[in-house]
């Protein structure tokens, strides 16, 4: 009966939709999850490897016993660096493929556009990237750093080193603007000095004026929230203008091992980055992860914080499913709170607000685009989606 309807359907819709594929019947022994990242477009630079990391975790789980006896079947969708596409594909994953969870998103804009879709359809999204906080959806597990798990520890570290006069440089979008808003409150609070604040358009390649302004402002350190390839332009032009880590250090929040490689490690030598993960972390889980990833995707592939988060997210989901004994997204979301595991990032725990309690590291860039950890938080840091100084009174529901 169902088949009949499908056949008739197809007949009619072919005319209009180039053939909409009816949902294939689910095999009993598999469970579907979605991986939704930009495989094309400007963001694909960052997101393809993150999608790969999630896929790796799925492959590992499938090579073992699966999740509650079921093999995971991945439905991979391309967000195409285009936010409405993320929303559309999320809708497809939830309503057509009926996936149990989605691993995906990078930019805040893509997450914001997916959020209503997940809330409307009762889906569950694992979001692996550091972000600006100020959001607390019951349908999203935010595993990347909250501002208090990256930006503020970096500020603490810089102040501790005696870098009191700070220049804030970022791309003109939500993360840098919000992170800097928070940082400014804390700079004042810590009796530091804001030397200047500058934003370049997304994808901007011209930094002559910016560098001139930095020079006039004479800061001790630059906190850099530039996005993607603007970093390449900035560091090329920064070095050309005669600056180096010795004369004026830069702490970056969006430069990981992969970005370091494409900027050219020589330009970055001695500069700093703050993350919850570096490829060089010595723990056993990380060694296993790095080895497995490089075996599958190439010997010299760089591994980054968002990749490690994406990889771990799949394992987190597995643990939560097994704890809930259900694939139901809301049951999983409920069960995930309090789950704790040893991951490539070290020991992590899921907080009630859906974010991770995790450690923070500051690394110094060296040869080959790798970072050497030079400082780390005392123990793990609990996530604070809303900064107390900048947004007093705001909490997760």
């Amino acid at each position: 009966m169902k088949k009949d309807i499908h056949a008739r359907k197809r007949h009619l819709t072919l005319l209009l939709t180039l053939g909409v594929l009816g949902g294939a019947a689910l095999a009993q022994d598999t469970i579907k999850v979605g991986i939704l990242h930009s495989l094309t477009g400007t963001m694909s630079i960052s997101e393809i490897t993150v999608a790969n990391a999630a896929q790796l975790a799925v492959d590992e789980i499938n090579a073992g016993s699966g999740v509650m006896g079921k093999k995971i079947m991945v439905v991979k969708e391309d967000g195409a660096s285009d936010w409405p596409t993320f929303a559309t594909k999320a809708e497809k994953l939830l309503t057509q493929d009926k996936v149990a969870a989605v691993f995906g998103g990078w930019t805040s804009a893509s997450r914001k556009s997916m959020l209503p879709v997940f809330e409307k359809n009762g889906g569950l999204l694992f979001y692996p990237v550091q972000f600006e906080g100020n959001e607390c959806s019951p349908n999203i597990v935010y595993t990347g750093a909250q501002p208090n798990q990256q930006a503020l520890p970096a500020l603490d570290w810089a102040m501790g080193k005696g870098y009191k006069t700070i220049f804030l440089l970022g791309s003109d979008y939500v993360y840098p603007r919000t992170a800097n808003l928070i940082l400014k409150k804390h700079i004042t609070d810590m009796k530091g000095t804001l030397a200047g604040e500058e934003y370049v358009p997304l994808g901007g390649t011209e930094f002559s004026s910016v560098i001139n302004k930095i020079k006039a402002a004479k800061p001790d350190v630059i906190i850099n929230t530039l996005n993607g390839d603007s970093n390449v332009s900035f560091f090329k032009q920064y070095q050309a203008a005669g600056y180096s880590a010795k004369t004026l250090p830069v702490i970056s929040f969006s430069i990981a091992e992969q970005e370091a490689q494409s900027i050219g490690p020589a330009l970055l030598t001695g500069q700093y980055a703050t993350w919850n993960y570096f490829q060089s972390l010595p723990n056993a889980a990380n060694k296993k992860f790095v080895a497995a990833y490089q075996k599958k995707y190439g010997k010299n592939t760089a591994i980054t914080d968002p990749m490690a988060h994406a990889y771990m997210d799949v394992y987190l989901w597995k643990a939560a499913v097994e704890k809930a004994k259900s694939f139901d997204p809301m049951a999983v979301r409920k069960a995930i709170v309090g789950i704790s595991m040893d991951s490539p990032l070290g020991k992590i725990t899921v907080d009630a607000n859906g974010s991770l309690t995790q450690a923070v590291y500051t690394g110094m860039s060296g040869a080959g685009g790798q970072f050497k950890v030079i400082s780390q938080s005392k123990g793990v840091v609990a996530p604070q989606p809303y900064d107390k100084l900048a947004f007093p009174g705001k909490t997760c529901p």
């Binding site: 094309t40 477009g41 400007t42 694909s44 630079i45 393809i48 003109d172 500058e198 934003y199 370049v200 358009p201 994808g203 901007g204 390649t205 011209e206 002559s208 004026s209 910016v210 001139n212 302004k213 020079k215 006039a216 390839d229 390449v232 332009s233 090329k236 032009q237 070095q239 050309a240 203008a241 005669g242 992969q258 490689q261 494409s262 900027i263 050219g264 490690p265 020589a266 330009l267």
Partner: protein, 301 residues
């Protein structure tokens, strides 16, 4: 205002102008002379960047001497191929060239992504370009002129001068101008107009390739880098007056200094919007650009 900052911004203006000019000069040929709206121009810049990367792999530190000829020849050949297969069929349909070359730009971007990966490739300026001229003492103490920036300024001036000579003083340029004024007459006088079209388009592509080398020293080399330059490059040509090489030079200076001024006074982000709006306002005042090419005989419709 601080004199060092002020003179620094003046230098910024010159530097921005040189980049605008470099990216626009190839368009001044294909768009200005042939009325082909080459949306794939940005991708020629990108290919120039990748060829620089290849040259650096092959040669090591002295790669620039290989990069320039390699980028010029590589992109020019690609340009010739494009002209022969696609553009040739679209002369007289400028708006259609826009659509077709947009398609080509997508293909080239994706090809670059599959060959070199979606992550950009590193290109670092050679040691002799990595220093800077620094002013010591006096009111301008600390003013810095990075070698790379000076190099790009000289490069764009050379390309501008070369193109001007080629179009206005060489036999090739005479033919180009003849075809530009009256295709039929030029053809009847023995100019091989088809070959000339191909050469002009290839030359425009080759110049974009050379520009790509310059950009690689200051900007990323990745599949989508061309998109960052294409809109501004078209604006330079339009503001300069379509078909005028010197106009492009003047427009690049105008836009460069305007940008530097706006960036100095406001923020980099706001400056871009301001610059774009100013261009539109400017075209109100001079719809045909700074150096309009006037002709009377062809006005009739």
């Amino acid at each position: 205002m601080d004199p060092v900052f002020l003179s620094g911004q003046l230098f910024t203006g010159l530097s921005v102008a040189s980049l605008l000019l470099l990216t626009a000069l190839g368009l001044a040929l294909s768009f200005g002379l042939m009325r082909v709206i080459n949306m794939a121009h940005g991708e020629f810049l990108m290919i120039g960047g990748y060829l620089t990367f290849i040259a650096a792999k092959l040669m090591g530190p002295g790669f620039l001497w290989l990069a320039f000829p390699l980028a010029f020849v590589g992109t020019a050949l690609l340009g010739a191929l494009l002209e022969f297969t696609v553009i040739r069929r679209l002369y007289g349909r400028p708006l259609d060239t826009l659509l077709a070359t947009w398609g080509i730009s997508l293909i080239l971007q994706q090809a670059a992504r599959q060959i070199f990966g979606s992550t950009g490739v590193p290109v670092t300026a050679p040691a002799w370009l990595s220093g800077a001229v620094v002013v010591h003492g006096g009111v301008l103490d600390g003013l810095t002129f990075p070698h790379v920036r000076l190099f790009v300024i000289v490069l764009s001036a050379l390309v501008l001068g070369g193109m001007w000579w080629l179009l206005n003083r060489s036999p090739f340029g005479m033919h180009v101008r003849a075809v530009n004024q009256n295709r039929e007459v030029a053809a009847s006088l023995g100019v091989n107009t088809r070959r000339l079209d191909m050469l002009v388009f290839a030359l425009g592509a080759g110049i974009a390739g050379v520009a790509g080398v310059g950009l690689a020293l200051l900007s990323p080399v990745n599949p989508t880098v061309g998109a960052a330059y294409i809109v501004n490059a078209f604006l330079v040509v339009v503001v300069g007056g379509v078909g005028s090489v010197l106009g492009a030079g003047a427009a690049a200076l105008l836009l460069g200094f305007t940008t530097a001024l706006a960036e100095g006074l406001t923020s980099s982000s706001l400056a871009q919007s301001i610059m774009l709006i100013l261009v539109v306002v400017f075209l109100q005042w001079k719809p045909k650009g700074l150096f309009p090419t006037q002709s009377r005989a062809l006005e009739e419709t």
